[in-house]
Amino acid sequence: MVQHFRPAIVLIVLMTLLTGVLYPFAITGFANVVFPHRAGGSMILRDGNVIGSALIGQNFTSDKYFHGRPSATNTPDPNDPTKNVDAPYNAANSGASNYGATSQALIDRVKADVESWHKAGIAGPIPADAVTTSASGLDPDISPANALLQVARVAKARNLPEDKVRAVVTAAIEGRALGVIGEPRVNVLELNLALDALPAT
């Protein structure tokens, strides 16, 4: 038994140096030299300030922006650190609702969200992604159907013709690569940036 101690200890140390130090640092060095933008999290700068990551959703609430999906992320309660409070799109603490299909809490939340869409004047079935929380709480995308339903609200808030806003949405829809790979989607942050970049009318 004791004869195994030396190989165990020496190999743990050497393997740690190889796979725990050399490997991740070599990948880090390579990534930061060759692909610095991606290695740094695909951050988007505007006027020199970081306004977010192209890969991470943001919590849009204003009528003049397209809204992302509901988010279930939270943060420790500042008054009582043993509890959590809702904090949508908290990119420092990813997470999901984890509600099962028969969860009353899920049903209550979806019911309220569907009603608020109906109140906003949207008739008919609501796209599922518009009333469900994502797995990460940081989903950057929405479905094209969801985006198109928001065109009227955004156009009104921005005082723009709906056709003009719809054209921006249509241009922002990413389809399946080669017609097969991926899912049709719209990156909400990039869509909103494109809207902000429209020349004033």
């Binding site: 101690f5 740094g40 908290n90 008919g124 599922a128 994502s134 690569a177």
Partner: protein
């Protein structure tokens, strides 16, 4: 379900097979110590490691010495990871200034990584420093699958040797598996992930000012390097809490395909390697077909169940065309979520690109059943091969009983001694899962109103069964509504992981010793063939009967009853 969805599923599975055939041959050559493509670079490193460690690469171990070496190595490495977590505030690479990890959580996490489970009771971005992630978790992500591969090859050797006293040298097998198999593949996949947008930086986080003027703190880190080995080593412990659903771990459809490919390729290659080692590719193919059938039935079931949607939400006015969408990401869609969920639980990976807790009841049944099988379709790195061989031995034994002959597998007679080891290994699984799940289900502090369950009704029971199926099968995925970070679950889940790995492999290595010592006999007219559709059918039959007998009552009370309650609009 859509044609594009099916095409994506078929494409990924085809790419896995295309790569696994040559990789299988490479694994055989590497673990036999033959010259290979990477020898010019890695052979000097390998020799240097042996010299420093005092290992004589020509000296082989009997099964007991092999087992002791494996256990001591694992124990020491467990202690290293525990110490790192407890001392992380004194160690470098701590950009967020974290406190030490609590003792029960550190114990759970150490056990989780040394057993190749990677169950996460911690949230990476709010708990662990970069030091622990890189020098602790990433290293375990390399070595725990390498240990699995070593044990699988040791068992395979037992079938090729005749009247042999040794089954290989643990240190040599583990070192070669790490250097030649895990490391080069990890480098390739990590670079590819960076190209596809996965971050790789030493920063802890970046603060952004959003378009609406709010502050958003975005957690970062050396994610790509860990993500690559997390999938390749069938580990599954995410750098970030949301695992492969997080846009930084899995930013787009391409990275998603790469990650599914990576988590399947080595387990599948190992089966091809087995066929080559025993000198009959058909022996490997019959095992692989068995695995593939279970896997494909699972994909169809989960894809269909999720695409149908949740009828309760449809009745509220939700469009069902996207399917059941709670806990899923837009960029993956139902097809590639179904493939990920099936592949991650058919292997012992446990990474997730959607929250399994929010799958429909029948959709959630698929990963649960995969894990109750012990993750053998196609299984973890190494553990898939020795797991399916254990079931194959049971199958030839059952066939032998039916025709009244001494069963054989690959020229080795399977007798009472071998069957005792096989049954011991299989029974540990059942006792482990059902025992711990039953104890949790009757504990008031678990199931009570202020207990640890995230969902009420039958889904709450599913959360408990899932947790022990996952930890016992060394998978690590979760019905994550269950709050596991408490003394009860940190401890019981850690013991379930320990028994599911080491309680299982010690009888398997004893079996290897026993088989190696036997004389290899030539097949006779009375030998039951272990290739072809006949044997695949037998294996599938044994798997279904064996596991349904063990787990059907528990599954009936969990996902099955929940499915019918959902169809009737009942909620909890």
């Amino acid at each position: 379900m859509s044609i594009a969805g099916w095409l994506q599923i078929i494409l990924v599975l085809a790419l896995v097979v295309v790569a696994a055939v040559p990789l299988g041959g490479y694994i055989v050559r590497v673990l036999a110590g033959e010259h290979n493509l990477l020898s010019p670079v890695l052979a000097p490193v390998e020799r240097g490691f042996y010299r420093a460690a005092g290992v004589d690469e020509r000296k082989e171990h009997g099964w007991l010495a092999y087992t002791m070496a494996m256990l001591i190595f694992s124990l020491f490495h467990l202690l290293v990871l525990y110490a790192m977590q407890r001392l992380q505030n004194y160690l470098p690479l701590d950009p967020k200034g974290f406190d030490p990890v609590a003792p029960d959580l550190a114990f759970n996490t150490s056990m989780s990584f040394v057993t190749n489970t990677n169950w996460q009771n911690y949230a990476g971005e709010t708990t662990l420093t970069h030091f622990v992630q890189m020098l602790g978790l990433t290293v375990h992500n390399f070595l725990s699958p390498a240990v699995g591969l070593a044990m699988a090859v040791a068992l395979a050797r037992a079938f090729i040797r005749s009247e042999a006293r040794t089954i290989g040298n643990f240190w040599v097998d583990m070192t070669r598996a790490t250097l030649y198999v895990m490391l080069p593949l990890a480098v390739i996949v990590a670079v590819a992930l960076v190209v596809l947008g996965v971050p790789q930086t030493l920063l802890g986080s970046v603060e952004a000012t959003t378009l609406e003027g709010a502050k958003q703190v975005i957690s970062l880190g050396p994610i790509a390097s860990q993500e690559a080995i997390k999938e390749l080593g069938t580990n599954g412990g995410g750098f970030l809490n949301a695992n492969s659903a997080h846009p930084f771990e899995n930013p787009n459809a391409w990275s998603n395909m790469l990650e599914i490919w990576a988590l399947l390729v080595i387990p599948v290659a190992t089966i091809f390697a087995f066929g080559r080692m025993v000198g009959d590719a058909r022996q490997g193919l019959s095992l692989l077909w068995t695995m593939a059938i279970v896997l494909i039935v699972g994909i169809v079931a989960i894809y269909a169940a999720e695409s149908y949607g949740n009828p309760i939400l449809t009745a509220l006015g939700v469009d069902p065309s996207l399917g059941n969408f709670e806990g899923k990401e837009v960029r993956f869609g139902q097809a590639m979520t179904a493939l990920f969920a099936t592949a991650t639980t058919g292997t012992s990976t446990g990474a997730v690109n959607a929250m399994h807790d929010s799958l429909t009841p029948l959709g959630g049944l698929v990963p649960m059943f995969n894990m109750l099988l012990g993750c053998i379709t196609p299984g973890g790195v190494g553990s898939g091969l020795y797991g399916i061989i254990v079931v194959a031995l049971l199958s030839v034994f059952v066939a032998g009983l039916m025709v009244g002959r001494t069963p054989e597998y690959l020229g080795k007679k399977i007798e009472a001694r071998e069957m005792k080891f096989v049954m011991f290994a299989l029974l540990i699984y059942a006792v482990n899962v059902l025992g711990f799940a039953a104890a949790s289900a009757i504990a008031p502090f678990v199931v009570g109103d202020s207990g640890y369950l995230g969902n009420k009704g039958p889904h709450g029971l599913s959360e408990i069964i899932y947790a022990f199926a996952s930890t016992n099968g060394n998978n690590g995925s979760a019905f994550a509504g269950l709050n596991g970070n408490n003394l009860w679950f940190n401890t019981t889940l850690a013991f379930a992981m320990f028994l599911g790995r080491f309680g299982y492999v010690v009888p398997v290595l004893a079996l290897a010793g026993s088989l190696a010592a036997k004389k290899k006999v030539a097949p006779s007219a009375g030998t039951f063939p272990t290739t072809g559709p006949h044997f695949v059918g037998l294996l599938l039959g044994v798997i279904i009967i064996l596991y349904l007998l063990q787990y059907f009552p528990a599954l009936a009370l969990g996902p099955v009853v929940e499915h019918f309650l959902m169809l009737n609009g009942k909620s909890f």
